[in-house]
Amino acid sequence: MKTGKFDIYVIGVGGQGIGLLSETLLRAADHAGQPVRGVDTHGLAQRGGMVASHVRIGAGAHSPLIMAGQADMVAALERHEAWRGMNSYLKDGGTLAYYDAVWQPLNVRLKKEAAVTSEAIGAACSARGIREVRVFRDDLPDPLMQNMALLAEICRLDLVPGLGIVHCEAALKDLLEGAKLEKNLALLRRIVQG
């Protein structure tokens, strides 16, 4: 299925599974028959720093990088990074889908800066016409599955045009195997089916 160009900026903290989330979105779009390109952060920043991936779906994208302020959606796995992602990459009227985990940045722990609140994010979304999807669950078998919980909400709410659970399942089967695959598929299906 061909749709227009759709750019997703994925952001979180090194160690949260940003790479798996972005690779799943990208491969799911490929399974849906759309052209894809993108890029992940590798190397140094993975050590607990800000990590971002660019996922570009549909024809007409040349650079692997999304232009700042032009993303159709920001998918974030942490509250401060959701705030960073929407302020730098999300266009007005776009969608912010974020898992509301809090991993305090250094300056917050050093008492130099205040923590970001979910209320502040909500207010900024309203002011900019951004659709806000906040995800938080206390029933996850493993905090490392927060990325799957967010992916499932993205599927359930049809936030990416042309992308369904069937495509995400196919992508996960490309990337995982054994018990890990089954655990992730089970969570994805449980959430999508409500």
Binding site: V39, G48, G49, A61, L176
Partner: protein, 629 residues
């Protein structure tokens, strides 16, 4: 799950979503490469990960992580003299280490052919500078391919390899971070595996191979003649392409990812779009093609990430040929700095040709700044424990010198350990110099174990030889952690299997280091006492602060079901809000609540227990293996 190793060896053609680094490995296999060498460094380690995905017995070529980039280049060179198509790959600054060897390559008849794959890093995503290695290509008279995408990386490597082999030379494939890591679907060709060939091919008659005194000149002449032949190739290369939009007035010359960003940005320019010249083979420049392009446009923008190398050569060409086109290139210092992302390219076009692009909604204005999140030492990292302990032994004026590796992150607050950082292996000698003509401030240097073997040893020999006065702390974590946990000569394993470990302490002893202490980095009191004692002594003192990289260790233990982490919590009744855990020891697992309470973020705590000894109030408690108190 898709099996990358199976895919890379597949005989029939196929299409797959891959990053540039993976596409490169398929190209090596199709091209019949015999020997590949490297030293780990971002953005290139995933090339080795792709090689590692092929079971050792099935790998169609030999691969090693050498001890450093210079050695890697020499091993590849030797293999190429033996008639094998050879590849060496490493990061941007690795070429500085390899330079002594690299600049000799053009003088040699490299019978097997050699491809030097460089991972440049515009934007300094994971490097200590963003040096433009196209300068080195000019210095060494070597040709350069510059792919922009994973598909181009694949195709250009095969072309570079064929040219290297047929012209008996080295060819550079210059990648950048967002070429190495960019993903797209690449169509791969079928290939027929070559028969294994262990026949020796080195023949001194292919030389001369000894450039001494007057023998240098004919060798240099041959190198320059080969470069001229590549200049002819440049004009006819399928990788140098004009994209005409019928614009007689404006043209743009670009290469690499800047060309891709340009295409994104120009999508909204409609019929005002300038003509484009994309240079995929960028050294030597295609003079005929460029002269034609310059003569067909009134104004030509050279859109060039990092330095003004093409710009100056194109200006010289225009002057030589009397071409009237106005050439626009760098306009201010900002144009030399950072990656040419789509927004940077749009801003540059706005500056050069106002009105070419329609007005865009302003982004980012009036939006609150977000606190930065720099990379940091992982929960349980032995370096954190070491920095916390060492800091207690230092006086206010003491000087600390860092080296390259995870421990470089110690320069960040709250540790602020490592006030100077130069490059791989530079800490000991830099500290030696800081201690000269310095009667009061004591000097302490840090060095990682992989870096010790890479470039750290000469500085240590010099400290012994010239009797320097400093304390060196070797932070031994048993791996090359920063680049993804590669083995090093001290670990007892290489890329291909077990090997004799070279113990750090024995190396130090044999170099004549007389004052050596060893301690587990988690033994904070002992480490503080050792540093206090060492700083009070004269001469060259070494402390080996050892703890395994906990990211690697815990992963391996968990895989075996053997990890016995004991997560911690803060006893709120005992806690006196001193905040030693959250603001001084500063493990990221500790988080501050609004009222000054401290909470342990359970997603992050690995249960290493290195924090238990840090709380003056004794409020940090273990919760037992299951999490119960």
């Amino acid at each position: 799950m898709k099996d990358m190793g199976e895919m890379l060896l597949r005989r029939e053609g196929f299409s797959e979503v891959v990053i540039g680094n993976t596409a490169l490995v398929r190209a090596m296999i199709e091209a019949g490469v015999g020997v590949v060498t490297s030293y780990p460094g971002s953005p290139t380690p995933e090339i080795a990960s792709a090689i590692a995905s092929i079971p050792a017995g099935l790998r169609p070529f030999y691969f090693e992580f050498s001890v450093n980039e210079k050695v890697a280049t020499e091993v590849a060179f030797g293999a190429a003299l033996n008639g094998r198509l050879a590849v060496v790959f490493f990061k941007s600054v690795g070429l500085n280490v390899a330079a002594d060897t690299f600049v000799q390559l053009p003088l040699m008849e490299i019978t097997g052919g050699m491809v030097v794959v460089l991972g440049d890093d515009p934007g300094a995503h994971s490097s200590q500078n963003e040096q433009d290695n196209r300068h080195f290509a000019r210095l060494a008279y070597l040709p350069v391919f510059e792919p922009a995408t994973a598909a181009e990386t694949y195709s250009m490597f095969k072309e570079a390899a064929a040219l290297a082999r047929s012209r008996k030379t080295a060819v550079i494939l210059r990648l950048t971070t967002h070429v190495c890591h960019a993903k797209e679907k690449v169509a791969f060709a079928p290939f027929a595996a070559a028969r294994k060939d262990d026949g020796p091919r080195f023949d001194v008659r292919n030389g001369p191979y000894v450039p001494i005194a007057a023998a240098v000149f004919p060798m240099k002449r041959r190198a320059l003649e080969k470069l001229e032949q590549f200049r002819e190739y440049a004009d006819d290369s399928p990788w140098n392409l004009v994209f005409s939009h019928g614009n007689k007035k404006r043209g743009i010359i670009a290469c690499g990812t800047a060309f891709l960003a340009l295409n994104d940005v120009l999508a909204v320019a409609g019929d005002r779009r300038p003509d484009l010249l994309k240079l995929g083979f960028s050294h030597p420049l295609p003079r005929r093609l460029l002269a034609d392009f310059l003569s067909q446009h009134e104004q030509v923008l050279v859109l060039e990430e990092l330095d003004d190398i093409m710009e100056n050569e194109i200006r010289a060409l225009a002057q030589l040929q009397g071409l009237a086109a106005v050439i626009i290139g760098k306009q201010d210092i900002g144009d030399w700095i950072g990656e040419y992302t789509p927004e940077r390219v749009a801003a540059k076009l706005d500056k050069v040709w106002p009105g070419l692009l329609p007005a865009r909604p302003e982004t980012g204005r009036d939006r609150p700044a977000v606190t930065p999140r720099p990379p940091q030492l992982c929960p349980g990292c032995g370096h954190r424990s070491a920095f916390f302990a060492i800091k207690k032994a230092l006086a206010a004026g003491d000087i600390t010198v860092a080296d390259i590796g995870c421990h470089s992150l110690g320069f960040l607050p709250p540790y602020q350990m490592g006030q100077v950082l130069l490059c791989m292996g530079a800490s000991t000698a830099t500290a030696s110099g800081l201690a000269l003509a310095n009667a009061e401030r004591r000097v302490l240097a840090f060095l990682g174990d992989s870096t010790f073997f890479h470039a750290g040893i000469p500085g240590i020999i010099n400290a012994v030889f010239n009797r320097h006065n400093l304390t060196l702390v070797i932070m031994e974590n048993g791996t090359t952690a920063m680049t993804g946990h590669q083995e090093h000569p001290g670990t007892g394993k290489n890329f291909n299997g077990p090997t004799a470990a070279i113990p750090l302490r024995r190396v130090l002893e044999s170099l004549g280091v007389a004052n050596i202490r060893e301690v587990d980095a988690y033994s904070q009191k002992q480490l503080t006492a050792m540093v206090t004692a060492a700083l009070a002594e004269e001469g060259f003192k070494v402390i080996i602060a050892r703890h395994p990289c906990m990211l690697k260790h815990v992963r391996e233990q968990k895989r075996r079901g053997a990890w016995k982490g004991v997560p911690v919590s803060v006893n709120q009744e005992k806690c006196r809000r001193i905040h030693e855990c959250v603001s001084v020891f500063a493990c990221p697992s500790y988080q501050l609540e609004d009222q000054g309470d401290v909470r342990v973020q359970e997603d992050l705590c690995i249960g290493d227990g290195s924090c238990l000894q840090t709380c003056p109030a004794g409020a940090i408690e273990t919760r037992g293996p299951g999490g119960e108190k």
